[in-house]
Structures are given as structure tokens and as C-alpha cells.
């Protein structure tokens, strides 16, 4: 009987061999694929098993981590002044995913980025808990606070840029939401999220980057730049050919000015000072769609910006007739801009015509704050020659010193700006938006350009003007930046 016994022994050996081959297949050949499968909950458990790296402003973390109260995820995100910083950080939630910086730099923050491989390997040997790297932003805490406080309970947004580099200094949006309240994995977090999503005031919308508003009169600086660049006018103090009243081309309607100002044949400086619709509307019509479009696009219109968070494309339409171009050139009709876009326009003018690519992540670091990657400033385009930029600066400084923007004046500092009150809704039925764009300038050049928009349902119609509502906010933001510079 021993011969069949030996064969059975071989058969049993083959069974064991089959098991060994199979476990090698599953646990060695397929191991990596299985371990990273999105349906494998360990991926998520691991993601939240250690403290997430922080987002840093002015050397201080504006985020944190705490132990979750329930479930199998250990740590959840916390935010300091979450509502104020939400337009910068975005949120990361164990249930609802993540967005903005939290999403874009997720690999760094969770520590899975290839550049953190050495840290991971090291912590494997030292037994330290794995840690995420940090994201150091370009933001200026004081400017952000000034912007957020200035907006207060009103709806609106602020974007501030360092014109020399393109570094974003402030990015506020109100009403905002507290990302701490949606960071966990509980039903309460879901309920909070749904509440935010259903809110008609759209607190989760990042207005500074994602909302486009008709820019109104603030767009006139773009029109003025186009006039200078395309040689329509050279001297900002020479009279323009601007009749009053001025009838829109191919139309029976007159373009009117807001108030009784010396707009007839006014020079560019005077026209900007009093925000003459007739002068800039006619410039738009004279230059025509193509030339206006060329300048607008050099400033960044019709293009999404990635800072690296995506910003919606601002709009200056193509293929418009003369009347539409005229209306578009005073920031009405189809023209729409994000607060970031208007800050870019202002920054380009303040930086003598060179538009720097806006960015808000200064550097990515490992857990010990050693730099992994640094963003270097990059020129995006040159919408204006330095001479024309300086001419436009003079005009904008007149607006602040003697025109509609006097509320943005800062003692002993050169400030240039432009107000805007943009009408919207059918037949202007809705409350207009109050705009203000400005920059401050010292001997070292301009450290800050800012764009403010306020949409206020509660204010009286008369009160809504860029000069009244938005300029003081812009002033506080600029002041905060200037104080830091000293």
C-alpha cells in the first residue's frame, strides 16, 4: 500500500504548494495594487491615522489636527479662524472630500508625496509617527484680518496681491463657513455641510476666485490702458473727443453719466476722476472690439487662473458691435470679473505695466519645515509699457486725491485707485455691487494692490458706491500691508 501512500503524500504536497503559490500571488505580486485600491478602506484609515501637515501663514499654522470623536479615523482637521481663512485653505472632510489647497497639496499634507519618501523611510526606522509636510502660503495675516473684518456681515470679497511678485496677500470672502464643522465623519458634519450648501448666501463659494461680478467703472482703467497702448490718446491731460450727450453707435439711446460732472471732452485724467461713462464708452467704441479684447486678455481676462487654486475666467466678450463694446468698456453688458482679476489689473498698473502671475503658495516643506519646493515669481504678460503705466498711475492717484476715491487716502503714502458701482439685474433692478480697486506705493515700489467688491442687500441704493462702501476696506488692507513693510 506504500506506493499509493507516497502518491497521496505528493498530492497533499501539491495542495500545500498551490496555497503557497496563491498567497505569494496575492500578498506579493498583487499586494501593492490591493493595498492602494480605492475600495480598500485602509487607504482612508491610513490617510487619517496621523496628523495632517499644516497650512502656514506668517510662520504660524492656521490649521491643526485633533483626535476624532468617533469612527475608525484617528485624526481630523481643525482650523483656526476657519471662516476667515476658508477661501485660502478650503476644507478637508473625512466624509465630504476636500477642495482648494487642502485638495491640491493633499499629497504633501498627508505625507504621501514622493519628495517625502526619505522622511517616511526615516520615521519607519525611528518609530516616529508618520507626518505630513506643510504648505507655507504667501498670505499676510494682518491684511486678511483687515479684509475679513472690513467686509463684516456684508456679502463680498477681497483680493490683495503684491504687484512686484504676484504673491497673494489677502483672499477674503463673506459670508464664509467654518471648515472645522465639516471636517469629521459624523452625521453632524454632514448636516452642517448640507446647511452650508442650502444657504442662499452660498457661504462655501469662494467669491474672491470663483464669483464673477460686472466690474462697473473699475473696468475703465483697462479701457484707459487700451486707449494709451493703442495710441488713441497719448497725453492724459489733453482733451478727448467726447461729446455730451453721447449717443451709443447704431442706437437711439444716449449713454448717461452718473451725476453732473465735467465730462464733455474731458481729459483722461478728469474722465477717470469723475468716472465719465461717455468718455470711456466712446473710447471703447473708437478702439473697437478687437483692440479692447487684446488689452483685456493681456490683463488676464477670458482665462482661468491657477494660484494654484483655480479661479474662474473673467469675461470680456468677442464679436460685439460698437454699442456693446462701448457698454462693455465701462464694465457693463457681458463684462464680468473676479475680484482676483481686478486685483491683477491694479497690480499690473502699479508694477509699471508688468503683470506677475498670481500665486498663494510660497513653498512646500517637509515636516521639519525644510523646503521641498519654492514658487518663484513669474511674469505673465506686459499689458502696458512702463510710460503708459505711470500715466495711468497718475490718473488713479488723482481719483484718490481729488475724485471719487478719497476714502482710501493714507497719509504720507501714494495711493491710486478707482471706484465702481456696477449695475446688474434686468433693468438694473437689483442692488448694484460696490467696487474699489487700489494700490499703495512707497519709494521701493508698490507693495500691495487690492480689489474689493461688496454686494449688500441691506444698504440703501444711494449708499452703494465703491467710494463709500468698498474704499475703506481697501484702505485698511493696504494699511495692514504697509505696517508690515516698515
Amino acid at each position: 500500500m506504500n506506493k499509493p501512500l507516497r502518491r497521496v503524500a505528493i498530492f497533499c504536497g501539491l495542495l500545500i504548494l498551490a496555497l503557497l503559490v496563491r498567497v505569494n500571488w496575492v500578498q506579493y505580486v498583487k499586494a501593492d495594487e490591493l493595498a492602494k485600491d480605492p475600495n480598500n478602506r485602509r487607504v482612508l484609515i491610513d490617510r487619517y491615522a496621523h496628523k495632517r501637515g499644516d497650512i502656514i501663514v506668517d510662520g504660524k499654522a492656521i490649521t491643526g489636527s485633533k483626535e476624532s470623536r468617533s469612527g475608525d479615523f484617528k485624526f481630523q482637521r481643525t482650523y483656526k479662524d476657519g471662516a476667515m481663512w476658508a477661501p485660502v485653505t478650503g476644507f478637508t472632510s473625512q466624509r465630504m472630500g476636500s477642495n482648494q489647497i487642502e485638495s491640491i497639496e493633499d499629497d504633501i499634507l498627508t505625507g504621501t508625496d514622493d519628495r517625502l519618501f526619505f522622511d517616511r523611510t526615516l520615521s519607519m526606522f525611528t518609530g516616529d509617527k508618520k507626518q505630513g509636510g506643510h504648505v507655507v502660503t504667501t498670505l499676510n495675516g494682518a491684511a486678511q484680518r483687515a479684509a475679513y473684518k472690513g467686509l463684516g456681515s456684508r456679502k463680498g470679497a477681497v483680493a490683495a496681491i503684491d504687484p512686484k511678485t504676484g504673491a497673494i496677500l489677502a483672499l477674503a470672502s463673506t459670508p464664509s463657513y467654518d471648515p472645522s464643522k465639516v471636517a469629521g465623519n459624523t452625521d453632524e458634519d454632514v448636516k452642517n455641510w448640507q446647511k452650508y450648501e442650502k444657504d442662499p448666501d452660498k457661504p462655501t463659494t469662494n467669491r474672491a476666485l470663483r464669483e464673477t461680478y460686472p466690474p462697473g467703472s473699475t473696468f475703465k482703467v483697462v479701457t484707459a490702458a487700451a486707449a494709451l497702448e493703442h495710441g488713441l490718446y497719448d497725453d492724459v491731460d489733453a482733451k478727448t473727443e467726447s461729446p455730451l450727450p453721447w449717443r451709443l453707435p447704431l442706437s437711439t439711446k444716449n449713454l448717461v453719466n452718473d451725476g453732473n460732472h465735467p465730462c464733455e471732452n474731458a481729459s483722461l485724467r478728469v474722465a477717470l476722476q469723475w468716472s465719465c461713462n461717455t468718455v470711456f464708452g466712446k473710447i471703447g467704441a473708437d478702439l473697437d472690439n478687437d483692440k479692447m479684447l487684446e488689452t483685456a486678455e493681456k490683463f488676464g481676462f477670458n482665462e482661468q487662473q491657477f494660484v494654484p487654486v483655480r479661479s474662474n475666467a473673467s469675461v470680456f466678450s468677442k464679436d460685439m458691435d460698437k454699442a456693446q463694446t462701448a457698454l462693455s468698456s465701462i464694465g457693463q453688458f457681458n463684462t464680468a470679473a473676479t475680484p482676483l482679476q481686478m486685483a491683477m489689473v491694479t497690480a499690473a498698473i502699479a508694477n509699471d505695466g508688468r503683470l506677475m502671475k498670481p500665486y498663494m503658495i510660497d513653498r512646500l516643506t517637509d515636516p521639519n519645515l525644510d523646503v521641498l519646493e519654492r514658487t518663484s515669481p513669474e511674469e505673465m504678460s506686459t499689458p502696458l509699457s512702463p510710460e503708459n503705466a505711470q500715466k495711468l498711475q497718475e490718473m488713479m492717484e488723482t481719483v484718490v486725491n481729488e475724485g471719487t476715491g478719497t476714502k482710501a487716502k493714507i497719509p504720507n503714502v501714494t495711493v491710486g485707485g478707482k471706484t465702481g458701482t456696477a449695475q446688474h439685474g434686468v433693468d438694473n433692478s437689483e442692488k448694484p455691487y460696490a467696487w474699489f480697486i487700489s494700490y499703495a506705493k512707497t519709494e521701493q515700489g508698490s507693495p500691495v494692490a487690492v480689489a474689493v467688491v461688496v454686494e449688500d442687500d441691506n444698504a440703501n441704493r444711494e449708499d452703494i458706491s465703491g467710494g463709500g462702501l468698498a474704499a475703506p476696506i481697501a484702505k485698511d488692507v493696504m494699511q495692514a500691508v504697509l505696517d508690515r513693510e516698515k
Binding site: 503524500a9 496555497l19 505569494n24 496575492v26 500578498q27 499586494a31 485600491d37 485602509r42
Partner: protein, 465 residues
């Protein structure tokens, strides 16, 4: 070929008893699980677990008593089987205790903590082991109960049909107040006794009285009866008890023992043909078999948008990688329910001890099976040979069916991993199985009694080198 010519007698040389080897191996078999126990505690709380001393002493006590009994009542028994069983049982207890620490799978609805109960079952198993060694002085006694065994085995196999299905399979007998029993675990041993007794008597008839057809020896109709009966029984278990594993186990066991008894390859071919036909036939209309096969072919497919148990087990294996997460640091609880402690216990091994640990465990089983087959080779009597290969074969098939099902070699079937998995019936029955194998090996390795001075004995004893 007669019984006598095959018998090997070792001769007058005194074989070493190897009991001291067993004792040394047992020390490892106790120390390794105690270390594993400490490992879990350190990983979970950063301190040595409070129950470590009690667990270590308990396991040492069981192993020590078992060893002393073997030393006294089966001094020439195989030295590795007891340490291997102790090690697997000890690791099983640690794994179950480790899974008890996961609150989500240790709710009252799921029966609460299982480790203390399993410890009691293990003690009962060792007690049965001792009982077998004590009262079964010679395994050949079992031969007397051939037909009683058949009746008992049939009753045990058919009984679960009359009890409600549990966890999708009808393999349980529920005794109110006592708990539930998995009779197939005991039937496995009893049916091996029946087969061994039956085949020992019939093997010549089965082997020689066959017709040659197309180069194959086909059995006569009247010899075919029992085979077809077993085949039908397996299919019935498969259909009425929805238990793929048990059915495969019994049929495989029968084919192996038939082959060993008759030495006819044609029986293997015949048996495999029958089982293949049966399996295909049943699979074509039984929905639970189809769903198992479907699950086996696409283990990661979502079901109603959720990740299936099978997929969770596969993820556990994959996430373990080469070296595993370390005991107490895996997430095999994601499999959910009591499955991680029973059918899927290997997933925890794979995830926390890695490929290396899982291969080590599989090799431990392989070694235990090898010792069983070796016992069959060494046994001097055909009944002992058949019984030993039957028990080892059943053990091997069970290991393959469970481990193969969990790791995806074959479709999943509801059986428990011997010694490792939670389950009273399984651990008790397998300790009895080891005891019988030890008894056979003791008889096999025991020095032959001094030749009797009668000339009669001289004539019948043939010594082969």
C-alpha cells in the same frame, strides 16, 4: 498482494522514543504564542496584556499534561504532531483574542468575546485527546465498530438538514441551552474509521475483480454501490445543506482511501469524473453555488455598492504585503461580523503577520499533514495505514478547502481552519484526530515485541529491509 507482505517490521533495534524532542518542541510551541500575545498587547495599549500570565500558564498546563500523558501512554508516538497542534491552537487563541479587542466585531449580538470560550473548548479538546490516548490502547479496536461508525456518520451528516440554516449554511445542530455543534467535524473522523474498516475488508475484491475497458479497470456493478452511495450523499450535503466544503471533503476522502486501498489509478479517474459531473450538475441549478463561483471569479466586484466580505479579505491579504502590519495593527475587522474570527481567520494572519507569517502557518499545516502521512507509511497494519491516511487526507483537504477558499484558489466554502479558527466542534474534533494519529504512530514505531519462540510465528513473519 496480501496483508502480510506489506508489513514492515523495524526489527529488534530499539527506536528512540523522541519524547524529549517533543518536550523541547512543545516549549517553542508555548513560547511563540505567548510572545504573540505580548506583541498584540504592546501594539494595542503599549503595555504587556494583563491576561498574559494566565494565558501562558494555561497553555503550558495543557501542553504539559498532554505531553506527560503521551510519555506515559504513547511513548513512541510521533514527536512533532503534539507541538504542531499546540502551536496552531495557541496562535489561534491569540488571534481570536486579538480580534476580540476590536469593538465593532465583538458586540453582544455577535456573541461577545470569543477567546475565553475558545480557551475552554481547547481545554475540552485536550481532554478528549487525553481520553483517546487513555482508553484507546490499540487503534485496531476501532475496526470492530466499522458499521456502527457508518450509521453514526450518516446520522451526523444528515442531522443538520433538520435545523435552521446559520450564516447561510445548514451545517449546525442547535441544542437549546448548550449551543450549536458542527457535526461534520466529528463525522470526518468517524467516516474515516468506517472507510478504513470497510475498505480493508473489501479492497481485494475491489482491486482484482474489475473489468478492463479501454485500458482502464472498471469496478463491477456490485462493488460500485458504496461508491455511488457516498457520491450521492456528498451531493445531498451540497444541495440540502448548501455546504460545498463538507461535500468536497467527504468525496475527496473517499477517493483517496479507495485509491490507497486498491492501488488502482482508475478509481481516482472514476472518482474525479463523478465528482466533476456532480459539481457541474449542481452548480447549474443551485444559486448559492453559482454566487460563490461568481464571487470567486470577481472577488473585488461591488455588491449593491458595497465591498463584499470576499473583497475585504483580499484587501486584508494585499495590505499585509511581505511582512504584515504587525499583530494587533491590521484592519481585518473590516470583513465584519464573526467571519474574521472563524472562516476568515487567515486574513488576519495574512494582514498582520504578512506573507512570511502566512506561509509559515501554511507550512505548519503542511508539516502536520506530512507527519500524518508518514504515520500511515510507518503503520504496520492495513487498517492503521488506511485510517492514518484517511485522517491526514481529510485534514489536508480541509486545510486546502478553507485556505484555498479564503485566498481565492477555489470558490469559498464554509469550513473552519483546524485549530486556528474560532469554533468548539472543530477544535475538539481535531484534537481527537491528532490523538488517533498519535496512537497509530505509537503502535507503528513501538519496537516489535520479541519474536515468540513458537515456530508458528517464525513462519508467518517476513522481514523486509
Amino acid at each position: 498482494m496480501s496483508v502480510v507482505t506489506n508489513t514492515t517490521t523495524i526489527g529488534a533495534i530499539e527506536a528512540p522514543s523522541r519524547r524529549n524532542t517533543e518536550l523541547a518542541m512543545l516549549a517553542f510551541a508555548v513560547i511563540i504564542p505567548v510572545f504573540a500575545y505580548a506583541n498584540v498587547g504592546l501594539a494595542k495599549d503599549g503595555s504587556l496584556p494583563a491576561g498574559m500570565l494566565g494565558y501562558g500558564l494555561g497553555l503550558s498546563l495543557l501542553a504539559g499534561v498532554a505531553h506527560l500523558m503521551v510519555r506515559k501512554f504513547a511513548p513512541y508516538a510521533d514527536p512533532l504532531m503534539l507541538p504542531l497542534a499546540t502551536l496552531l491552537n495557541g496562535l489561534g487563541l491569540v488571534l481570536i483574542w486579538r480580534l476580540d479587542l476590536e469593538p465593532t466585531i465583538t458586540t453582544d449580538a455577535l456573541g461577545g468575546a470569543m477567546a475565553p470560550k475558545q480557551m475552554i473548548w481547547s481545554a475540552l479538546g485536550v481532554a478528549l485527546f487525553l481520553g483517546v490516548l487513555l482508553f484507546l490502547k490499540d487503534h485496531r479496536v476501532l475496526q470492530r465498530y466499522t458499521y456502527i461508525s457508518m450509521v453514526v456518520a450518516l446520522v451526523l451528516l444528515i442531522l443538520p438538514m433538520f435545523f435552521p440554516a446559520k450564516f447561510g449554511a445548514r451545517i449546525w445542530i442547535t441544542i437549546p441551552g448548550v449551543g450549536s455543534l458542527q457535526p461534520a467535524e466529528f463525522a470526518k473522523i468517524i467516516i474515516a474509521i468506517f472507510f478504513a474498516g470497510y475498505l480493508m475488508v473489501k479492497r481485494d475484491a475491489l482491486a482484482l475483480a474489475s473489468r478492463r475497458f479501454m485500458g482502464m479497470y472498471l469496478p463491477r456493478g456490485r462493488d460500485l454501490g458504496p461508491i455511488l452511495a457516498i457520491w450521492a450523499l456528498s451531493l445531498m450535503i451540497l444541495i440540502f445543506e448548501t455546504d460545498l466544503g463538507t461535500s468536497l471533503l467527504f468525496f475527496g476522502l473517499f477517493v483517496i482511501m479507495l485509491y490507497v486501498a486498491t492501488e488502482r489509478t482508475s478509481w481516482v479517474v472514476f472518482g474525479l469524473t463523478l465528482s466533476a459531473a456532480g459539481a457541474v450538475g449542481v452548480a447549474s441549478f443551485a444559486s448559492h453555488v453559482q454566487s460563490r463561483v461568481e464571487n470567486w471569479l470577481n472577488p473585488l466586484a461591488l455588491q449593491d455598492g458595497g465591498v463584499t466580505e470576499t473583497a475585504q479579505a483580499v484587501y486584508a491579504f494585499g495590505s499585509g504585503g511581505l511582512f504584515g502590519s504587525g499583530l494587533g495593527q491590521g484592519y481585518s475587522r473590516l470583513i465584519g461580523g464573526i467571519a474574521p474570527k472563524s472562516d476568515y481567520i487567515l486574513a488576519t494572519v495574512g494582514e498582520e503577520m504578512g506573507l512570511t507569517g502566512l506561509m509559515a502557518i501554511i507550512l505548519l499545516y503542511g508539516l502536520l499533514i506530512e507527519r500524518g502521512v508518514r504515520t500511515a507509511l510507518a503503520a504496520r497494519d492495513p487498517f492503521g495505514k488506511l485510517l492514518a491516511i484517511g485522517l491526514s487526507g481529510a485534514f489536508a483537504l480541509q486545510v486546502f478547502v478553507v485556505a484555498g477558499g479564503v485566498t481565492g484558489v477555489i470558490p469559498l466554502t464554509g469550513m473552519t481552519m483546524p485549530f486556528l479558527a474560532q469554533g468548539g466542534s472543530s477544535v475538539i474534533a481535531n484534537w481527537a484526530l491528532i490523538a488517533i494519529l498519535l496512537r497509530i504512530s505509537d503502535t507503528a514505531r513501538r519496537p516489535a515485541p520479541a519474536p515468540a519462540p513458537t515456530s508458528d510465528a517464525e513462519m508467518t513473519q517476513v522481514v523486509r529491509p
